[in-house]
Amino acid sequence: MKADLWGERTPFAPGERWPVRVDQQLAAGVSEADVQRWVPTASLLHSNGDGMDIAVIDGRIVGVRGSAHDRVNRGRLDVKDRYAWQANNSGDRLRTPMIRRNGRLERVDWNSAMAKIVQRSQSLLAEEGPGSIGFYTTGQLFCEEYYTLASIARAGIGTNHLDGNTRLCTATAGEALKQSFGSDGQPASYTDIDQADVIALFGHNVAETQPVLWMRILDRLAGTQPPRLLVVDPRRTPVAAKAKIHLAPRPGTNLALLNALLHELIAHDWLDHAFLDQHTVGYSELAAQVKDCTAQWAAGICDVPVTLIEAAAELLGTTDRLLATVLQGVYQSHQASASAVQVNNLVVLRGMLGRPGCGVLQMNGQPTAQNTRECGANGDLPGFRNWDNPEHIAQLAKLWNVEELKIPHYGPPTHAMQIFRYAEQGSIKLLWISGTNPAVSLPELARIRAILAKDSLFVVVQDLFLTETAALADVVLPAATWGEKTGVFTNADRTVHLSEKAVDPPGDARADLDIFLHYADAMGFTDKDGNPLIGWRDSESAFEAWKRCSAGRPCDYTGFSYGLLRERGGVQWPCTKDAPDGTERLYADYRFWAAPEVCETYGRDLITGASVEQTEYRALNPHGRVVIKAAEYLPPHEDANAEYPMQLITGRTIFHFHTRTKTARAPELNAAAPDVWAELHADDARQLGIGEGEAVDVLSPRGRVRATVRYRDVRPGVVFLPFHYGYWDTADPSGPAPDDPGRAANELTITDWDPVSKQPLFKTSACRVEPVGPTAAARP
């Protein structure tokens, strides 16, 4: 593998177009001349949405190349995309459905597997009602599949319990946008990197989470008039190493730091008063909230030098082109939504919206997380509709031709952590999990395994491989994946790509869409006139149905068609009759989707999560302006203490995606990061008598993980564990026995979530580190 993971530089200056650099990777022994077909798609192992083509020989995937003319990547590919396609061809793909009989999973045909699910669904509907059925999906299916699943769940079953694992990656991004701008929708565009003067990255290790976007930034840094980077991260990441200013606050103190930055902007009057007067409400509450949040105050809480906080504020306050980005360092940490909203406020106070080189990018973690949000499979209703607005429910009822009461809207759609709680309590009795692996990815795994193994819970798992979760299922359905089916998906800057089928799926594996359509047919879901509820039969007709649902909403897809996407490659929504080329950045006209009639939410209290009522919102924001919301800093719910003196944060490596289901099956990626490690500051490690490369146990009140130590430039007192590693490729795939050390970081993480976005907190647990065996100091 190449030593430089981000490839050669192609420098460019502000206002210039990012040069093309085409990356290509073919299987050993295959040359470009051998390739029979190149099939267009986009990347599926992060949220960046890089346009690419799949190389096919004799019905088999043999490689990939970046699309030269795609707006997102201009030909580039990241290391995961170069290699992970090999997982499609893996010999251990699931090929047939399976049913658990006498404790063992046995192969059956599709009709038997589906009959079993339908029988259980119908008996539950008859005896317990729709609230006994839940769906937990992913950020990796396609738009058409989410919309179909959302239609089935909301209007077929009529359950409120549908969420995605996007709850773990993108829920706070969506929530922060809703709280500030009234509706979800990424304000800025990746092209804003091309012109930004200051790029401020909050908890966003873009070099490893969106490597191609980092290439874009590196190319700006290598060109004339490079941007200056402000990086907030407790680790000295590759991004932090390039920063003009790097702040490494104590985990759990983001909000204190952000409030101090806002305090400084106000104290120095680095404000766009005209913008604040004309387009916002709530400024005075923010000013009052941060009045006492001086740099000195925050320095004490965050353990960051006062002068650095002041310098960071000056950087933010004095530039004329500010782009802010946010990711998991904020979203998965204490006071997640409150902090993400304050990043919006930084941009809003400076009036940095709707112009080239300016704005905010609340990022996603997964390739199709954006679609989970848009289509209503992520704890929202389809088309960014507001569950609390009767008119929005009426729109959906008309679209689906069902009674309004059929669609649950007595509260916000149930979030993932609550779905698992209901399953734990026994009130959810059927949980259908598609394309995700909660037995490794959710917090406090001993608890999650126990829930999934409960006799009272009927678990359906639809996936590519026999994951740790599938191994606990009652029915396993083999799914087709990227390259084996056609559909649309959308990246973090609203760029929509069509991903075409290149090859057939293995064995009897089926597209997720076909599985959902099969279920809808077998269940006999009908509308109020007795016609089939789901009136579409394939991905293109599903896309047309989704377009009708999106019409008139912020994520308006009505100008798209498969034909247009084939011809043009990536195009950004909204795409309509009036904006046939798509929309590069939102809010260029300073018109927001925040008026009471159209907004996606009336908002929540940023500390308690309490819902704001419609009448209150009408009084607060009758004209649909940007809402500036303030919040006070509170100490983390679980902080370092005498028994667990260190802080645990988890995160990803560039070589792996999620629970390694695909990336560990690519030999190059697996070899680059084959097993779990723990990053410690050398001073901490030495004090514990632990040498680099030695094994340690990391313990929390929830469990124990054994890992190899790497000395890294993390904050002293902090332990970093990558979250990718589970058990499917270990001696005991069912996970560690009680009290034995595990391999999954989530053995340790706390069950706690942000009260606003309901995103679990993976970066705010207490832990301690113990040497395994004699320590270096004790050895002769």
Partner: protein, 162 residues
């Protein structure tokens, strides 16, 4: 002014009500460990209540008001008990609903007492007392709205799965 029985009445009333609310929040925190959001958020809400109480005591001392030591209505007495005790997990869900309901009612009582404190302070032009209500009353209202939201969010599943 030497004697201000109105202020004494209002401060004692809000002190009693906030004390009762603290007891209820502690109950919520300690009895519902497995309801993780309830447990964790309640700890944050308790910090507000403790601070409210400290501020009431400060103002009361300054105005020579003797605060009562009684803890107000006992937590739980505002909620009727359910007619039947269902299966165990249902009972747990119902207890949560009851505790949220009691929290709401106690927070409402405290909120009304804050109104009395504020109205009296306006009539007497006591700016320090008015500032006290400005700092504390909004937090009580946020606790009340939180209890309402959690009750609305959790009740459909609890009641339809009995």
């Amino acid at each position: 002014m030497k004697h201000d029985p109105g202020l004494g009445y209002a401060l004692r009333s809000v002190h009693n009500d906030e004390t009762a609310l603290v007891a209820q929040l502690i109950r919520l925190r300690d009895q519902h460990h497995d309801e993780h959001e309830i447990h964790h958020v309640t700890r944050d809400l308790l910090a507000w209540s403790h601070d409210n109480l400290a501020q009431i005591v400060q103002v009361a001392t300054r105005h020579q008001v003797q605060l009562s030591l009684s803890a107000g209505p006992a937590a739980g007495t505002l909620t009727p008990q359910p007619a039947t005790v269902a299966a165990e997990s249902s009972a747990v869900s119902l207890r949560l609903l009851e505790d949220l309901r009691t929290t709401y009612l106690l927070a409402s009582a405290a909120s009304l007492s804050w109104e009395l404190v504020a109205q009296h302070a306006k009539a007497r032009r006591q700016s320090d007392v008015l500032e006290l209500t400005g700092r504390c009353h909004p937090r009580t209202l946020r606790q009340l709205r939180w209890a309402n939201t959690m009750l609305k969010t959790q009740s459909p599943q609890a009641l339809t799965s009995l």
